[in-house]
């Protein structure tokens, strides 16, 4: 019975516990999903600086979860902050994050995907991740909704209609075959959008949970776990 913690890597004011409802609805029967956020921290992570600030507490939280025998942690932000750092310090627990999981799933469902972002400010850092994950050739485009991370649920109809407009541009003009929602705060939209667009629309928090379940399973059944050679070698004092 895999125990998975979804970490909303922001302070209590920005955290969004109702996101857990979506995860509970789509988890595997035996999976147990919990939700947590940080003790302190900004309300969102739209800036690199904000991410830098939360990294130590985030990584402590993750180490602590390994001690408590959790099977996996999900870092709930589409910038995947601390994902590689966490893989470095962990020795048994799985860790996933929305962008990595969404990109791999999308790459299997179509030849090209586009990513809806809140603001163009997000693009450079997300592009760095896509290059890091080696999937640049699958990217059709980024499309900006021109909304901040905290704005998506102010008027959901407006958000949905903007998402649809930008997704259609991505499909018609950029050749996208799959749409990825580029923020975990986009929860609650993928189904409606998918119905209207007739192409897969990836909700990144859900993708991260599905990938976490897969990684836990292949760890347990096959011994396939983060390689400890080179990139994710654990510091000596944490082995």
């Amino acid at each position: 019975m895999p125990k998975i913690m979804y970490i909303d890597p922001v302070g209590p004011k920005g955290a969004c516990p109702k996101l857990k409802n979506d995860l509970d609805r789509i988890k595997q029967k035996n999976t147990e999903v919990e939700f947590t956020c940080l003790k302190k921290g900004p309300e969102h992570l739209e800036y690199r600086y904000y991410e830098a600030l939360i990294l130590p507490e985030l990584l402590d939280t993750i180490r602590d979860l390994e001690t408590k025998e959790y099977d996996a942690a999900i870092i709930g932000c589409f910038y995947d902050p601390g994902l590689y750092e966490a893989r470095e310090i962990l020795n048994r627990m799985v860790v996933t994050a929305p962008a990595e999981a969404s990109l791999h799933i999308a790459a299997t469902l179509g030849r090209k995907f586009s990513i809806l972002v809140g603001r163009l400010k997000w693009v450079p850092q997300m592009m760095e991740n896509i290059m890091k994950y080696g999937l640049k050739d699958k990217l059709a485009s980024f499309k900006s909704l021109e909304m901040g991370a905290l704005d998506f649920h102010m008027d959901e109809n407006i958000t949905l209609s903007k998402m649809k407009e930008k997704a259609l541009e991505a499909i018609e003009l950029d050749g996208a075959e799959v749409i990825i929602l580029g923020c975990t705060m986009n929860f609650g939209f993928y189904e409606k959008l998918q119905d209207q667009l007739k192409v897969p629309v990836i909700d990144p928090a859900i993708a991260a949970l599905k990938y976490a379940e897969l990684l836990v399973e292949i760890r347990d059944k096959l011994g396939w776990y983060t390689s400890k050679k080179y990139a994710f070698e654990t510091p000596p004092d944490l082995r």
Copy 2:
């Protein structure tokens, strides 16, 4: 209860039904795995020509499985023959193949992977696939065992020792952090090799099954299924 067919895309003489044992051992509890091969065809697919010959029967078989309400088919060859063709003609059934599944899993477990191939002849076509899947930047190297697809189980100790030698070269000289076995006929080796190398060693047939289970699950729970826009648009007469 997902019903998944593993297709060994060769004629009865080359088919290897005992590979099913490995799959049964690692499948999810509810999954049902069956095994089939083609009615006629060569004993192996080391040449593009051989693959061309089996494509029509392979695709007929796959269409037939969709009619019979299978949830997924696995095309059991590391060249992934017919994978994109199959995605084009299917409207509900999932189809996976060893290379695509192995590459995505390996890309998550480490930064660079190497692929052990039987002969250097295999490299150009596999490289085409890696470029098609958009994962070229994650490839550390190909390493050739200089054995044909039918030779791996003649003397398993020799095979294992060659695999170890080439995998170590890949790790030490090319920076590989994960090893992918580049042929479904490499079944039975990953565990021993993994124990000795201390890095993940991906068995491609198993990877394909795990990916099939994931894709069936996200299809059923989330409606995430092969995009029918552009690359995998179904011909009108098959819709």
Copy 3:
């Protein structure tokens, strides 16, 4: 006196024997061009599945031509179906195809080319070929006419005017210096278009014939023929 067979890789209903007129008009004096199509097969190859279906008969036809001492075969479809498979099984006869030939010629005539396709559905597979041929950096863009392969000659004035419109976009907005017509069914248009656009417009069937004549000549005079090392190694039973 080189004997070259142009194979229209579709069934008799879709085949277009009058395309031979264009080839006869521009062939070298000593070249003899013949035309054939498949005994059965779809009317066009716009889907990967259709190509898979015709591959075995196509490759048999090609092997047969080698036996009959033809000097070259042209596979008359811009997807170049079976080109690499054919190179694998042949030991003396040359084989060319429209996309490969057009891309190399266009790459010499200008720095960037654009390809006019019938539908956006065609783009992913053509892009795979361009990457396989190593010429991705020379591509300015694909432009879609939004017409099927069988529609180009319904109203040739409409087709020509759409071609001109899209070619101009490619030149003015994407920096194209050469235009490639992305379907062998585009025969009969290149000259008029070229006159109007003042840039080279490549007819792919013609390009394939010119490349075939070149390859036959360098084979005969210089012994430069498909390398049989690695990618195009012939299966043992066909050597």
Copy 4:
């Protein structure tokens, strides 16, 4: 009179104040160089986790320097930790780091450079930076000395001789024309190595200082300063 702070982003135990001697020796006449380290932190940053731990204090230190009207800060580690984060939060002060500065200088002095690293563990993260800076095509190779960051000055003759051996391999076998020392703890070696190899050998701490002086100068004379559009947009509360 530019005032520049060199930050050794480790705790007092790992910090190396005598590195300042080298910087004083090669600074511009008017430049004033100071040295500081963090109040707490690990002795070296060979692991991503260690970098994550020091980021908040490092960025606070940097913000504080801007308040105190320093002209530039140098982040003294070849992983360039926090460089982009710092650029985001700063509005006037320049910030440079060893890898970025060394790569740009080396790219001007030769066509290809190689980087000497302490251990292969360092390669993945440095490669991410090289891709981020857009200079991947200039990299000939990484060469590993198989020494930790704290080992270089244990026996300097051994270090020098290993550096020479690996640099020669890079030049003779990989085509390197410039050698970059891949750790700020490699101070004190570049001159001797350069004399022996007859190619430029870049000391990264020095390169960072020279780049800092350049960036301060073009800021003051030309108004050329970090673009605040997109990648380095400052969070609203820090503007």
Copy 5:
């Protein structure tokens, strides 16, 4: 006291000595800047042929400057004609050019830059240089003003307003964070444009001077000078 010659690589009729005013205004205190042009040559270098014609005199001029103990020469054209040839024949003198210097500086100030060119004709050759310098991944776009090299100062208000329009397109649509003026004849515009756009605008002649000062300084203080291995090996008779 570095002595630097700015060479306007055109004949006297096309040369623009007042460009020196800008350089004098922004040079380091101790730097001495002189200006020269060629004895004969075309008025501009918009064509590859024109550049070929001036190369011998340009390189003779540069060799002569080395003999006269100049510290650096600047080749004043954004195509950087003869830059690598000059580096080959020089043994002590520094040589820089506008494109190389601008690209490196822009790459440090933002993640993506766009280049304003006079005509689309200029793009292919500039793209070759960007690939040669290894900075292709940092390019957002080229934007064409549709003006010749000699037109920029005919009506400076028109030029400025076109520059602004195209720069805004580059920023808003292509994600540019830094603008590079793609012709040395664009002198006099960067400041106004920068004030209006609020992103760095690089004047290429000035960038070349700043880079020349840097390269002279690191040559003198650190012995970091053009590598004479491979790419810039000097012909035996010129050593």
Copy 6:
């Protein structure tokens, strides 16, 4: 009857008129091949500087040939000096060069090629050309014979044996399927080498002639000639 001039772009002392014998032996029946060299110039072009020196006379020669109604000129050096400049100024005459022609032919005969160079010094500039021609992905490796351009015929047995050794390395270790001789002074070797290696060995001067014949033919029959848009736009005074 195509009239083609082979230009040996060196002075009379370095020119090698007997190379014409090879060309006469393999030309098309109607082709007339002539040979010329420059009035003055160095004996070889191993340095960029030497190439710069000969460019004006080379381009004058080429313009003169167009006036005299030659059909094509071949620039007989594997650096392809002046090829793009010549295409710019010509309005009717074809111009080809050894590297461009060899790369396109080799790319058709196999998936990867290696180039034998005289010295490692040659690699950077040849690599620039390969990137310019867009064929980088087809390159397996450069292999250096460590001989100057004038040394190949001193002891032809030694040269042949070195070529064989390096070509075998390229095939066995780097995956090359085709070998390109990287200097026009390598004439006389391809046949013997080809017999021994059993893979195609491209003689670059011959490749350039074959490509010239092709380009003349498609110009005359199809109007396919160098695009005059953008890259090869002719200067106004030469139109």
